[in-house]
């Protein structure tokens, strides 16, 4: 019988065992294909040039992240598969096959798996691509026309990337098989040395890990100016190192200490599962650390998406307080402009204000000239009333000003210091800052300061005033009907019209579903990594559980031990993730000036639910794979 035939028979016979592998591989292909397809779709064109460019950059970043992710995932999946197959393949050694031939057999088999996964991934990818785009567009609240389309280049690209990554690991497995000895392949029961790790080293690692982690948390929530970005980066690095050291030091130390306290250990099933965890720890701690970091990323990604979405909405609302903002040299033109607009549109509300444009500078950097727009306090109060906005500003003294600021998508400066300004050698003390959009879009473009009425009158004698007339119309779809009339009005010196349809931040909205998506992918990955690890480990436990059953340890006791062991396996990364995510989300909340605690809690809750499901499945499958329910013992 030739190799191809043999491998095909193998493949067919054990297809059931491959299902989980194929599904997870197909899943990664499906995701990457969908992003490639999205990038080529006509949805992009209809978003306008700048938006589509920005979204394409976002998608490219996502694809890069997903490719890295696919790389590790395939590494992991094939590795798990290889160790499992290695034992079965050992049989062929007795059939007289050489390592080379066994390696080739493995290659052929895994290539078949890979091919099936690829076809399934692309196939299902095409099937759901429409749904995927639709969901993405719906969640991001972008208005585009959808049409069914499949990009050939998306198929080729996703297929090619997957193929390259997959072949790397197929080849790695081949090398591994060719170079491994017969003994390795037949029995993976090598002596397990170094069960217990050196306590001093563990202790040092633990102390170092805790310190680094705390330092990371500190940098994450530390408020600051321009150094915030560097702090955030530092925090990321520190938290990752800290998590590694914690799993490599602190956690084994805790378990070992518990295990050496025999009065504690010899109760319930503790002897079984605590020793088991200690034994596994040295081999598995990297996996747990990766999973923890992956989950922190997931929660942070989700929080970023939600925050971006909220900020965008806020900025959108900020800009759209008025539809028209008309400038004029003359005052008291409210009624005239109202008349002009009402020819075609209904006015929802309107306001009016007088402003002075002056040269000035910030008190700290006097050599840098800025243009400030000053407005008098009492008029601002009136404007707030007319435009139905809150007004909680203190009356400024003659040498004081109020900063009328605006919303940012993301601000790296997390300290909230007020900067004094200087106009004509007079320093004004900034007493307050507000982000209420009194002047809507204009407030975003110009640095407004509110001064006392007396001071305004004094400054007015040297500069000329400009008058701003603001209107919000009922039906913003009709906004172009009135623009010409306004512009042709003799006293109109300038017009700003704000079209809610024409939002240059639309691409950021796209981030929202993408982030939700990344969250789900990361969570799915972390759950399945632990799951696969346990799945694989369980086979190695078979012999141990056989001994235990022989000496009369009942199924119930063994299962209770497994339950505790697996519970701890899932819960420790989960807890560490929950703690760490609090800090990372908090840092993000500072930068985005959004309250993200509820998002944090929600995402941790989602992970908890997913992990409970994984845990339940793991217990059932672990018990099965470890042969706890088997009757035969001899």
């Amino acid at each position: 019988m030739n190799l191809a035939k043999l491998s095909f028979m193998n493949f067919k016979a054990s297809f059931k065992n491959y299902v989980s592998l194929i599904v997870s591989l197909a899943f990664t292909v499906l995701i990457i294909f969908n992003f490639f397809n999205l990038m080529d779709s006509s949805v992009m064109e209809s978003l306008g040039k700048i938006n589509s460019q920005n979204i394409k950059i976002v998608i490219q970043c996502v694809i890069v992240v997903l490719c890295c992710f696919m790389f590790f995932f395939i590494w992991y999946a094939t590795n798990v598969f290889l160790t499992k197959r290695k034992k079965e393949i050992g049989v062929y050694v007795f059939m007289g096959l050489t390592n080379q031939r066994i390696g080739k057999l493995y290659m052929l088999e895994t290539m078949m798996i890979g091919l099936v996964a690829l076809i399934m991934g692309i196939g299902f990818g095409i099937l759901i691509s429409q749904l995927f785009t639709m969901i993405l567009v719906t969640i991001s609240d972008i208005e585009v026309n959808l049409s069914f389309e499949i990009s050939l280049s998306a198929i080729l690209w996703s297929g090619l990337i997957y193929f390259i990554v997959y072949m790397i690991f197929v080849f790695k497995g081949y090398i591994n098989l060719v170079s491994s000895s017969v003994l390795d392949m037949v029995s993976a029961n090598r002596q397990n040395e170094y069960v217990k790790q050196n306590k001093v080293i563990l202790f040092l690692k633990a102390i170092l890990g805790i310190m680094i982690l705390i330092l990371g948390y500190y940098y994450a929530i530390k408020e600051g100016g321009m150094e915030t970005m560097a702090n955030a980066l530092l925090a990321v690095v520190l938290v990752i190192i800290g998590v590694y050291l914690l799993f490599g030091g602190f956690i084994p130390l805790v378990y070992q200490t518990l295990a050496s306290n025999k009065r504690f250990l010899y109760k319930k099933q503790r002897t079984l599962w605590i020793n088991q965890i200690i034994f596994r720890m040295k081999k598995n701690y990297r996996t747990y650390a990766i999973v923890t970091v992956l989950m922190i990323c997931a929660v942070t990604a989700l929080a970023t998406g939600v925050a971006m979405h909220e900020r965008c909405q806020m900025i959108h609302d900020f800009e759209n307080v008025y539809t028209y903002q008309i400038f004029s040299q003359k005052d008291n033109l409210q009624n005239e402009f109202t008349k002009v607009i009402e020819e075609h549109n209904d006015i929802q509300y309107s306001s009016y204000i007088e402003m002075l444009q002056v040269e000035g500078s910030f008190a700290s950097t006097t050599h840098q000239k800025n243009t400030f727009a000053l407005i008098p306090y009492s008029q601002l109060k009136e404007l707030a009333q007319d435009s139905h906005q809150t007004f909680e500003l203190k009356q400024p003294q003659d040498d004081e000003v109020i900063d009328l600021s605006h919303q940012y998508i993301l601000s790296l400066i997390t300290t909230d210091e007020l900067e004094d300004i200087q106009i004509q050698n007079q320093v004004y003390n900034t007493i307050q800052r507000t982000t209420v959009p009194y002047l809507g879009y204009l407030q975003e473009q110009v640095s407004f300061y509110c001064v006392s009425d007396d001071e305004y009158q004094r400054l007015k004698s040297t500069e000329t005033s400009l008058y701003v007339y603001n209107y919000k119309i009922e039906n913003t779809k009709m906004l172009n009907e009135s623009t010409e009339d306004i512009q042709q009005h003799q006293d109109c010196a300038g017009l700003i019209k704000v079209d809610p349809q024409n939002d240059s931040n639309q691409w950021i909205k796209m981030l929202y579903p993408v982030c939700i998506f990344m969250f789900m992918v990361f969570i799915f990955a972390s759950g399945s990594i632990i799951f696969m690890k346990l799945y694989n480990d369980a086979f190695e436990e078979k012999e141990r559980y056989r001994v235990l059953r022989k000496i009369g340890i009942g199924t119930k006791t063994l299962r209770a031990g497994v339950q505790k062991e697996l519970l701890l396996t899932y819960i420790v990364p989960f807890l560490l993730m929950s703690l760490s995510s609090y800090f990372s989300v908090h840092a993000l909340a500072n930068m985005m000036q959004t309250d993200l605690l509820s998002v944090n809690i929600l995402s941790v809750g989602v992970i908890a639910i997913f992990f409970v499901i994984c845990y339940g499945l793991s217990v059932v499958i672990y018990c099965q794979n470890a042969g706890i329910y088997e009757k035969r013992m001899s």
Partner: protein
Amino acid sequence: MDKKKVVEIKGLVKNYGTRGFQTRVLKGIDLTIYENDFIAIMGPSGSGKTTLLNILSTIDKPTQGTVLLDGKDVTKLKNEELSQIRRDKIGFIFQDYNLLDTMTLQDNIALPLSLNGVSSQVCISKCQTLAQIFGLKEHLKKYPYQLSGGQKQRGATCRALISEPEIIFADEPTGALDSKSSRDLLERLKMVNDEGKATILMVTHDALSASYAKDVYILSDGMVKCRLTRGDSRKEFYDRIIDMQVSMGSDFS
């Protein structure tokens, strides 16, 4: 005799293989084990010693016949009950030790007791006592891979004894040991038995090991061929076993 019967075997038959291709390994065995017995079962390789022991220790089921353990017919019990019997009434010593490599010797010894819900204080003190008897005091904190074969087997014996079972089943306990370690283990087993602390059924193909027992049954061709009982001297008993082996002419290995 007013001694308590621990195990009573009647007409035990065991077939292997599927219908049509069956081989009868045990061909009707009757045997009674009383409290504080130390019985060795000898026989050539393939004579069914392990099969017999597996059936007695409820790991395997007989084709015919009954096995009464402490008055209960174990061939008719469900799995859960069998586990319970194995846990509470039987102690095991295997040829390949079967200590768990994930835990220290002390944890290995205390394992059956601690999983039985016995207070941890009792587990610790019993473990200490047994370790003292078997000369393992200094090795309790070590892992199996750090111990010699003899130490491992003595540890396994401690594990078998810790729950004070009705009977200890030992399948070639010295099979993987050098002669010094073998003697060391057997001396201690004999001592425990002499002190009235254990009833032992041991399977072996080695005459020297068998000579530590009180009674030796020779198993051949699936049946008990004869029974030898020790007198005062172990040396003289050993010679008698060898003579018997020679007279039977079978290859004991």
